[in-house]
């Protein structure tokens, strides 16, 4: 890999790793279901940006854009369905606390 490409890859890779850590920490620590979905969104954003950087560095941005479009479609459906489930849990238990899910049967 050329020097300039490697410089771009390391710079972006560094910040992408930190963004991934933020999302992972959010999912692990929070008890609010909506915030957990927000953490998941951060994780997906890190992966999306990594794909774009890989495409730029390897000189094939068109190929990675096709993958990113697929990822974004799945991301939005995930947000919609997860938000709906969180809302349903709120109606069932009266709050958005993930610990309440332990009381469910099954």
């Amino acid at each position: 890999m050329s020097g300039e490409s490697w410089q771009v890859m390391t710079l972006f890779g560094f910040f992408i790793a930190l963004l991934f850590v933020c999302g992972l920490y959010c999912i692990l620590v929070t008890r609010n279901l909506i915030r957990a979905i927000i953490g998941l969104e951060l994780l997906i954003k890190a992966v999306t940006l990594l794909l774009i950087v890989t495409g730029y560095v390897s000189g094939k941005p068109a190929l990675t854009q096709a993958f990113v479009i697929t990822v974004i479609v799945i991301e939005v459906v995930l947000a919609v369905v997860a938000g709906g489930i969180a809302l349903r849990i709120f109606r069932y238990s009266g709050n958005l606390d993930a610990r309440e899910l332990n009381k469910l049967k099954g």
Binding site: M1, W6, C22, G84
Partner: protein, 166 residues
């Protein structure tokens, strides 16, 4: 490169605000800001189509979904907010420390530049449209199925709500 660095730092600050902010609505807005900065970075990395998708879907649609979901839940009382914020800070103040430690670890690692890029038929493709329709038809089919599943899932959830209201 300097502009990229500034944008990446802003992106990280917005992400930290998303995770550590007290209000869910503010967290959603900062998530939208993160998305917008990622969009600018995508434009700068020669990926305009993905950037437009990111801006319209992730910054626009997902923010609307989150705001709608938050507005449909019950707001907390002042007393509950005070109690929650006390416990929250105990759990979340570790995040900047962890980010700093991971960052320092990555700087100290010094990864070697021995990565090779793939070659072959993919290198001939420069058009997103031709890739999607000629080489990734299965992805397109999968996207359509996922969209239908999402639409059906949401309609079922709202159907249940109407039945409850009767």
């Amino acid at each position: 490169m300097k502009i990229n660095l500034i944008l990446l730092i802003l992106m990280l600050i917005a992400a930290l605000w998303t995770v550590m902010g007290r209000s869910l609505l503010k967290a959603t807005i900062s998530l939208a800001i993160t998305s917008t900065i990622i969009t600018i970075l995508m434009f700068r990395l020669d990926s305009p189509l993905a950037a437009v998708f990111e801006l319209s879907v992730c910054t626009g649609l997902i923010t609307v979904i989150f705001v709608s979901t938050i507005s449909l839940t019950k707001p907390l009382t002042h007393k509950e907010i005070t109690e929650l914020s006390k416990n929250r800070m105990k759990r979340f103040w570790y995040l900047p420390v962890i980010v700093a430690v991971v960052g320092a670890g990555l700087i100290l690692m010094k990864i070697k530049n021995d990565v090779t890029t793939m070659s072959g038929e993919w290198s001939l493709l420069h058009d997103v449209k031709s890739i999607l329709w000629n080489f990734r038809q299965l992805d397109m089919f999968g996207q359509i199925v996922v969209l239908i599943i999402g639409a059906l899932g949401v309609s079922i959830l709202f159907e249940e709500r109407r039945r409850d209201e009767w």
